[in-house]
C-alpha cells in the first residue's frame, strides 16, 4: 500500500469485489463447472449456488448518447450457462465463475474489514487456479478484456448526521443553502452518481471511477444509512493476469483516495482515520 494512502481503523465497508471479464471460453460447458469446483475450490469454498449469468460490462469512451441501449441475445441452443457461486460462509469469501468472468467477493460477516492486502492474494489465487484449470482441460486461453474493483460502504450516523437530508455532513462536495429561495431548508433525501475518466500514463482513457450513493435503511431496525459504492472498471494493459493485478492495485488506490476526497473530516474521525 502506498505510504500516503489514507487508512481507517473502522472503515464502513461491507463488500469488496475484484473481478475480471475475459473473452468467452466457448469450449467451457456445464460439466466443467462441477469439475472446476471439485478440482480447485471445493475444499475452501464448500457451498455452491447457481445464478443467471451477467451481461458483459465494458467501458467505452467517446460515446455521445446519454443512455446506453440495451441488447440481449437469447439463444435456445446452446442453452445459456449459469454463473456458479462458491462460498466460504466462515470468511465471507465468494468466488463467482461464468464463461466470461471470474470474481472474488469479500462480504462482511463478522469482524472488521481485513484490508485490501489480505483480499488481493485470495483473488490472485482464485484467478490462478481458474487459469490452470482452463489450461489443464484444454479450454482455450483466459484473455482478460476488462478488470473491475468495487467497494460498497454502509455509512452509519456515528452521531455526525441524523437523517438522509443531511448529505453535507457526510459528503463534502454537497452544500445546501438555507437561504435558497423556493426550496425547503433541507432535502428529504439525495441520490447521486458521478463518473470520472481515469487516464493511462499516456493520457489515453484506461477506465472509469464510478461513484454512486443512495439512502437506505437497515432491515432489522430501520436505521438510516448512506450506501456509497465506488467502482473502477477498465482495460488491463496487455491482457495478462499480471496486468489485471496491476489494474486492481491502481483501482484500489483511486477508490481509497476518492472515498477520502468526497467524505468529510467528521466522518473520517468517526471511522478512525490513521493517515
Amino acid at each position: 500500500m502506498p505510504r500516503d494512502l489514507p487508512d481507517y481503523n473502522h472503515p464502513p465497508l461491507v463488500e469488496v469485489v475484484l473481478s475480471v471479464q475475459f473473452d468467452e471460453l466457448i469450449e467451457f460447458s456445464l460439466p466443467h463447472f462441477g469439475l472446476l469446483w471439485q478440482k480447485k475450490y471445493r475444499s475452501q469454498f464448500p457451498r455452491t449456488e447457481i445464478h443467471p449469468p451477467l451481461n458483459i460490462s465494458t467501458e467505452r469512451f467517446g460515446v455521445r448518447s446519454s443512455s446506453r441501449p440495451v441488447v440481449k441475445l437469447e439463444m435456445l441452443e446452446p442453452p445459456p450457462l449459469p454463473r456458479l457461486w462458491m462460498l466460504n460462509d466462515e470468511s465471507g469469501g465468494l468466488i463467482q465463475i461464468q464463461t466470461n468472468r471470474i470474481a472474488y467477493n469479500w462480504r462482511k460477516t463478522r469482524g472488521e474489514y481485513p484490508h485490501y492486502e489480505t483480499i488481493r492474494p485470495k483473488f490472485e489465487l482464485a484467478l490462478r487456479e481458474f487459469c490452470s484449470f482452463v489450461e489443464e482441460e484444454n479450454l482455450g486461453n483466459v484473455t482478460p478484456n476488462q478488470c473491475e474493483i468495487t467497494y460498497v460502504n454502509h455509512i452509519e450516523r456515528h452521531g455526525v448526521w441524523e437523517h438522509h437530508g443531511q448529505v453535507e455532513k457526510v459528503f463534502n462536495f454537497w452544500s445546501h443553502s438555507q437561504h435558497a429561495t423556493g426550496l425547503p431548508n433541507t432535502p428529504e433525501n439525495v441520490t447521486f452518481s458521478i463518473n470520472y475518466i481515469l487516464p493511462s500514463p499516456t493520457g489515453i482513457p484506461r477506465g472509469r471511477l464510478h461513484v454512486s450513493m443512495k439512502p437506505v435503511f437497515t432491515r432489522d431496525n430501520a436505521e438510516p444509512l448512506f450506501e456509497l459504492k465506488l467502482t473502477v472498471r477498465g482495460y488491463p494493459g496487455d491482457q495478462s493476469p499480471r496486468d489485471c493485478l496491476d489494474f486492481m492495485d491502481q483501482g484500489h488506490n483511486s477508490i481509497v483516495r476518492g472515498f477520502t476526497a468526497i467524505t468529510t473530516p467528521a466522518m473520517h474521525d468517526a471511522w478512525g482515520r490513521k493517515q
Binding site: V14, E15, V17, S19, Q21, D23, E24, I26, P52, L54, N55, I56, S57, T58, E59, R60, F61, G62, V63, R64, S65, S67, R68, P69, V70, V71, K72, L73, E74, M75, L76, E77, P80, W85, Q96, N100, A103, N105, R107, N145, Q146, T150, V152, H154, I204, P205, R206, K214, P215, V216, F217, T218, R219, D220, A222, L225, E227, K229, T231, G234
Partner: protein, 183 residues
C-alpha cells in the same frame, strides 16, 4: 457481486443485478419478423423453429433501417458451429454478437446504411460497408470494437485505427458514412 441483506433497499450492483430490463410482451406484431413495442424495444425471433435465436434490443424512437437485416444475420451466425469454415474457425460467441449490435445502436447515426455482418475465422465479427465511394470495416471482439479501416475515394482519406475503448474516431467515420448516404 452479492446482495447484502442488512438493508431494506438491497444492494444490487453489477454483479448481481441483471443489467437488462425483463422484456415485456410485445404489444403488436409487424408484418416482418421484427417486433416493436411502444417502448421502442425491438424483438426478433427466428420464425418456424424452436431452436432458433431470439434477439432483443432496445433503442430510442423508430428502429433503424438496418435493424432487421442485422438481427437476421446474427441469428444465422449464432448457429455456426466450431470449424464452420472447415479450416478450424472458432464459433462466434454471444458476447461478440451482442457487441456488434450494441456498437450499431450506440454509435450508428440516422441514415446509416445496412452493413454486411461477416463472421471471421478467429471468432470475431466484421461489420462492413462498401458503397458510395466508402469502404469501411469494423472488427468486433467480445469486448467491443477493436479495429477500424476506412477509405473514402472522394476525399482520399484512408485510416487504419486500433481502438481500445475510445470510439470517438469510429463515431466520426460512421457519421461520415451516414452523411454520404443521406446525400
Amino acid at each position: 457481486m452479492t446482495t447484502t441483506s442488512s438493508v431494506e433497499s438491497p444492494i444490487l450492483d453489477q454483479l448481481t443485478e441483471k443489467d437488462v430490463t425483463p422484456a415485456p410482451p410485445p404489444l403488436h406484431e409487424s408484418e416482418s419478423d421484427l417486433i416493436i413495442d411502444r417502448r421502442s424495444i425491438y424483438y426478433y425471433q427466428e420464425p418456424n423453429t424452436l431452436k432458433g435465436s431470439v434477439v432483443i434490443a432496445s433503442g430510442q424512437g423508430s428502429p433503424p433501417v438496418w435493424l432487421e437485416s442485422v438481427f437476421k444475420n446474427l441469428a444465422s451466425i449464432a448457429k455456426l458451429p466450431t470449424n464452420w469454415d472447415s479450416y478450424g474457425a472458432k464459433k462466434i460467441s454471444r458476447d461478440v454478437m451482442r457487441e456488434s449490435l450494441l456498437v450499431l445502436l450506440e454509435l450508428g447515426p440516422d441514415g446509416l446504411p445496412t452493413p454486411s455482418v461477416v463472421p471471421t475465422s478467429n471468432g470475431d465479427i466484421q461489420l462492413e460497408w462498401h458503397e458510395l465511394g466508402i469502404d469501411m470495416e469494423i472488427e468486433i471482439k467480445p469486448y467491443g470494437p477493436s479495429h477500424i479501416y476506412f477509405r473514402d475515394s472522394a476525399t482520399n482519406i484512408e485510416e487504419d485505427l486500433e481502438l481500445k475503448g475510445d470510439v470517438t474516431g469510429l463515431g466520426n467515420r460512421l457519421r461520415d458514412l451516414a452523411r454520404r448516404s443521406r446525400g
